[in-house]
Symmetry: C2
Subunit: 354 residues, 2 copies
């Protein structure tokens, strides 16, 4: 099934409104999810709709949160998300933060009492548009053991940043701090396929290529103990410092159906013009991009990409040709719509075809 991004967004927005969100907030969550599909990050796209709606209906996510600043200084903000949707809470935090960064030069923003915020890239893109260097991090339910351990303690805590350029698209990194997203291991287990060594350990801490044993065990951090330490840092900034949950004290989006998640986020915004003229900075970033892309390539490499470039290429294609959904995802979101009285057929563009 292929959808135009705008149609898919409108379909999601209507469902989310039906689940209690305002039109604006429904649009925000729809933008984030469809935006992920546009960039080819389907694991964080519309496939998340059903769990979002489920938690809204169960009352463990607040559709109309009172998002408020609970502590503030010239260079910091602490925000209470009132258990609202992560995208809605994060977007509000970014708005408040962008204002402060423009006024005071930069800001660090902590967020507590939030939920799964989708992709970090969604927020980073907002900041970069305003010529702010932007970082977005979040903690997540525990799936990774501490280095040397076997029992999950920290999450695959995502780390994202964005750097504006002039002639080129911004440099945008958005990554999990695990070797791979846990979703890939779930898929392998469902299909009865093995996983490469280095992705996960079993519940005894042994390297495993069996997807099922991996799910019962622990995902491995990227880059061994160094990646583990960065994931831990994200949990400290997002969870420990903000007053949100941390480590195993974050509730699972796919399991703890009787309580809010209490996820924490951490954003950093820096006004480039406080360091050098924005145009000069962008010229320097362009120079860096050009030097990297024209660097001699290893055998078998056709092109050297900067972070985010591959996603921009996919986005351009999907904006023109539409977003392909697997039959499984299509049926899943169709069902969510039906339960809300919103019919997916009304949003399909027959001109794109099935």
């Amino acid at each position: 099934m292929i959808f135009k991004a705008e149609h898919l967004k409108e379909y999601l927005r209507r469902i989310l409104q039906n689940a209690g969100l305002s039109e604006t907030d429904g649009g925000t969550v729809a933008d984030s999810l469809v935006g992920a599909n546009l960039r080819g990050v389907d694991s964080h796209g519309v496939t998340r709709l059903s769990i979002y709606v489920k938690r809204l209906k169960l009352g463990v996510v607040n559709p109309k949160p009172n998002i408020r600043v609970v502590a503030e200084s010239d260079a910091t903000l602490l925000i209470d998300g009132d258990d609202g949707m992560g995208q809605v809470v994060g977007k509000r935090a970014m708005e408040l933060g962008m204002e402060k960064a423009r006024r005071n030069g930069a800001v660090y923003i902590g967020v507590k009492k939030s939920t799964h915020f989708g992709t970090g890239a969604y927020f980073v893109q907002q900041g970069v548009k305003e010529n702010l260097i932007t970082y977005a991090m979040s903690n997540a339910p525990s799936t990774m053991a501490p280095w040397g351990g076997i029992q999950p303690y920290i999450g695959t805590n995502p780390y994202a940043f964005g750097i504006p350029a002039r002639k080129y698209n911004p440099i945008i990194l958005d990554m999990a701090t695990s070797v791979v997203a846990r979703g890939k291991i779930i898929t392998a287990a469902q299909e009865g396929k093995p996983i490469p060594e280095g992705w996960a350990i079993d519940k005894e801490g042994r390297p495993t290529t069996d997807a099922q044993s991996a799910l019962e065990g622990s995902v491995l951090p990227f880059g061994g103990p160094k990646g583990y330490a960065i994931s831990l840092m994200i949990d400290i900034m997002s969870g420990v410092l903000t007053g949100a949950g941390f480590g195993p004290h974050i509730n699972n989006i796919y399991g703890d159906y009787d309580k809010p998640q209490n996820v924490g986020h951490f954003f950093q915004l820096i006004d480039i013009s406080r360091f050098m003229p924005v145009d000069l900075f962008k010229q320097r970033v362009d120079q860096m991009i050009e030097e990297i892309k024209s660097s001699p390539k290893a055998a078998g490499v056709n092109e050297i990409f900067v972070p985010g470039e591959i996603e921009y290429n996919i986005e351009r294609k999907r904006l023109a040709e539409g977003i392909p959904l697997t039959r499984e995802v299509y049926e899943d979101i169709k069902q969510v719509g039906e339960a809300c009285g919103v019919h997916i057929e009304d949003f399909q563009d027959k001109s794109i075809g099935a």
Copy 2:
């Protein structure tokens, strides 16, 4: 050879003073180098003395820099290091930054026109003592190819952060963004030994276990493309944003003897009390440390360590028993001293023994 830390520091300080530094600044550089030895990070210890003194004598490092703030906002500082020693420039940047962070809540500090700053941990320790969450990054001469490339573009740009705890030592990470320090490959080449696969590629971009081919090629980033992206980010913050050199436009400490390095640094300081009471934060960090350390261990693991813990253990031992130097390093620093009329024998404590 075993030295008491205090004696070694005094020996270095005298030599650095002879090379033109003030007593205070000489003490700062000595503190950083001997501090690295104390923590077991011998690659960044007194072994760097000879190149530091050489560059001072060549006049490409400024012994009496006029370190000044060239741009400032409520939440940012940009500092020109006037080609001074990285430790001296970084310490002054930290002092100015700590004052601002205490006053305004937090700060981002960019530094240009600096040189090799030793270990990031040295600065992080300063901030953590003042109950500031502290980050220290620096760019470095190019030794790593872009992902997919074969020609060095970015450095093994170090990333360090520190988190204060209450009952325990602070959590301190200080890492290179390469798989291993290039120094280990140099040592292997000198000893004619192979290196493990995954450390480096040769000049054609092929994986290599030959240390010499590795040195002619490129060091690999930790964690593949993810670690590469983080190293790139450090170069953007430390180099592109500050106006320092970036990518291959940073001069080599061990080669470009006719010009300053133009290294850039980036520091981040956050006043914990703007988010929650410091004592509550430290209690939460303690809880995290306790939960991690009491987590079930993998087979063959005796103890789970948090970042920096192993270094604190070594420091405790070396403070009590002295710092062991290899014959090679001893002869090297002895020679540097002789050339300055400072005799290492005067600083050896016979009670510790040879």
